[in-house]
């Protein structure tokens, strides 16, 4: 029986008069790839932000590996092994790619490296290896701010892998990426999940991508959980179709 690595129970969050999340409950199974879809403004990013600690939630509970995290700050949550990537892609734009990778190493209490670890040894090797994995090895010495948007997205993804997280929340990973490169990204996501054992939870707008990638999908609409299930089921669910096309 695979347990849930993240459990969201009856979480609500409002910003002033705007009810971004209303009574949301969902679960992410350990080792799986879970998708979150829904029309614009339905509360997907708010949910992510609540999970990773960007703002407090009004009601409900969020647990990670069984422990309550809804009152923790971003840093401690990240150190538990729960990372997220940003929709607008955030990297250390003034440092080069290798340095971006090296500093993304895990800082959890069981980390192998101390504060003053050398930058030439094992950390460097892993950094180069992961840069190779995402196809950025040839650009590794360039200042990351000079890369194209798509390349920065790949770098951010590689940095997340460097951190050896248990769960990775990805906020629209294919947005803004050249369609020809999307397959490569999906492939790498799947490999990260299968080879490195990282649980993925992905917000996506690209239906083709998410239907092929995820094992279980949640659909939000107007701040509420609309439906969830396997990709084929949701594709045929009238409510989901209405939510995207109906626009209310």
């Amino acid at each position: 029986m695979v347990e849930n690595i993240i459990e969201v129970n009856h979480v609500s969050k409002s910003f002033g008069g705007v009810h971004a999340n209303i009574d949301i409950s969902m679960a992410v199974k350990k080792g799986s790839i879970t998708g979150i879809i829904g029309p614009n403004g339905c509360g997907k990013s708010t949910l992510f932000n609540s999970i990773v600690g960007y703002h407090p939630i009004d009601t409900g509970s969020i647990t990670f590996e069984g422990r309550e995290i809804s009152k923790l700050l971003v840093g401690p949550i990240a150190r538990l092994g729960l990372l997220r990537t940003f929709q607008q892609t955030r990297i250390y734009s003034k440092m080069n790619c290798v340095d971006n990778m090296q500093i993304s190493v895990s800082h959890r209490s069981d980390a192998r490296h101390g504060f003053f670890a050398s930058r030439k040894g094992e950390i460097l090797d892993r950094a180069n290896h992961l840069l190779e994995f995402v196809g950025l090895y040839s650009k590794r010495n360039l200042i990351s701010g000079d890369l194209s948007f798509g390349q920065q997205k790949l770098l951010e993804f590689a940095m997340a892998l460097m951190n050896e997280p248990k769960v990775l929340l990805l906020d629209e990973p294919t947005a803004g990426i050249n369609p020809t490169l999307i397959n490569g990204l999906i492939d790498r996501l799947q490999r990260a999940n299968q080879e490195l054992g990282i649980t993925l939870c992905v917000i996506e707008h690209n239906m083709r991508v998410i239907m092929n990638l995820a094992e279980h999908i949640y659909c939000l609409s107007n701040g509420r959980m609309l439906a969830d299930g396997k990709p084929q089921d949701l594709q045929n669910d009238q409510r989901v179709i209405d939510a995207y096309l109906g626009g209310h």
Partner: protein
């Protein structure tokens, strides 16, 4: 280290060690130069490398000064009696007593300042940007004011430091050497930590602290360690400076916020903040300018220095090293060009 670096260090070592022999009339000025190098370099650790611009690092300078004074005197005399006598008690130290007191004092100054940095860090490290700067500035000013109220350490009248056993030239040379050694030690330590993961971490905090937190970097710990290192060396040099000057006093000598307190920032900016050599270069230049204006513009030297600071900040933000690194990146091992390189040169800048 490249051959260029070895040469540079060799030159500095020679100048540093033989300076007072070559230019005996300038020994005190050169000692002061090393003090400034240390101040600018340690400021840059938090300010340039981590992006936390403290205006109150001088607090550790003064604390170290007073801690050392208390340690040195209390080993053989009652401190309260000594300070209230306002110099009427002339302490008789044997040579051995003087030097043990001095070195223990310096050590205590460094360690005590680390502890103080931890305490203040608890207050100010939750703040960002201008609030952090103003908070630290307030602490430095308050430190000077409050020290003047504590009679145990002499209050507003200050403390006379124990006399150095030996004639004037030996004294000058001795303290010069102490300043040089401390400055060199600081540089070596900073150079080393910048080359480790620590250096990357503090740059990451500067670049995007929220991203760093989101990646699990324990930013508070890095800030604390960084400030502790700063405090240690500032405390030590404060102790040495107090002994060198011979008489310490709260606002003018120990916590001189509008002078040394801001000089360290000006020097780092002039030379180029966020680089290893920038603060050093800035300190040297600033010191030379300061000495020159003292001699030729007496009365207006502070005005000149203030103007330099403003012009630097407003018109020349990146400083000399920053400008050089932008103009000649390959010289410093920075890779810029996208298309032509398949395999870049050494990734991190040496300067």
């Amino acid at each position: 280290m490249t051959g260029r670096s070895y040469l540079l260090y060799a030159v500095i070592l020679v100048l540093g060690v033989f300076g007072p022999i070559m230019f005996p009339n300038y020994t005190q000025q050169m000692a002061l130069l090393w003090v400034m190098v240390l101040m600018a370099s340690t400021w840059d650790l938090l300010g340039g490398q981590m992006g936390y611009n403290s205006l109150g690092n001088i607090t550790f300078f003064g604390c170290g000064m007073y801690i050392s004074a208390v340690v040195q005197i209390s080993m053989f005399y009652n401190v309260a009696d000594y300070t209230s006598a306002f110099g009427a008690i002339k302490p008789e130290f044997t040579d051995e007593q003087y030097f043990t007191g001095l070195f223990l004092g310096i050590l205590a100054a460094g360690i005590g300042s680390v502890f103080i940095s931890y305490l203040f860090g608890l207050i100010v490290f939750g703040l960002r940007g201008p609030y952090f700067a103003i908070g630290t500035l307030g602490i430095a000013i308050a430190a000077g004011q409050l020290t003047g109220t504590i009679d145990y350490i002499g209050g507003g009248s200050g403390i006379s430091m124990p006399f150095f056993p030996g004639d004037i030239e030996v004294r000058a040379g001795f303290f010069y050497l102490l300043c040089f050694i401390l400055a060199a030690l600081t540089h070596i330590v900073l150079r080393w930590i910048y080359s480790t993961q620590f250096g990357l971490a503090i740059n990451a905090i500067r670049d995007d602290e929220d991203k760093a937190e989101a990646m699990g970097i324990p930013t508070l710990k890095y800030k604390q360690i960084g400030w502790a290192i700063t405090a240690f060396f500032m405390g030590c040099i404060g102790a040495v400076f107090g002994n060198m000057v011979g008489f310490i006093e709260p606002v003018e000598v120990a916590f001189p916020v509008p002078t040394f307190g801001i000089f360290m920032v000006a020097m780092a900016l002039l030379g180029g903040k966020g680089t290893l050599w920038g603060p050093v270069l800035g300190a040297v230049l600033f010191h030379i300018i300061k000495e020159a204006t003292w001699t030729y513009l007496l009365g207006w030297q502070w005005v000149a220095l203030g103007l330099i600071l403003i012009i630097n900040i407003v018109y020349f933000q990146e400083g000399i090293m920053g400008w050089l690194q932008r103009k000649y990146p390959e010289f410093f091992g920075i890779t810029v060009d996208v298309s032509t390189r398949e395999d870049g040169k050494e990734a991190k800048a040496d300067g």
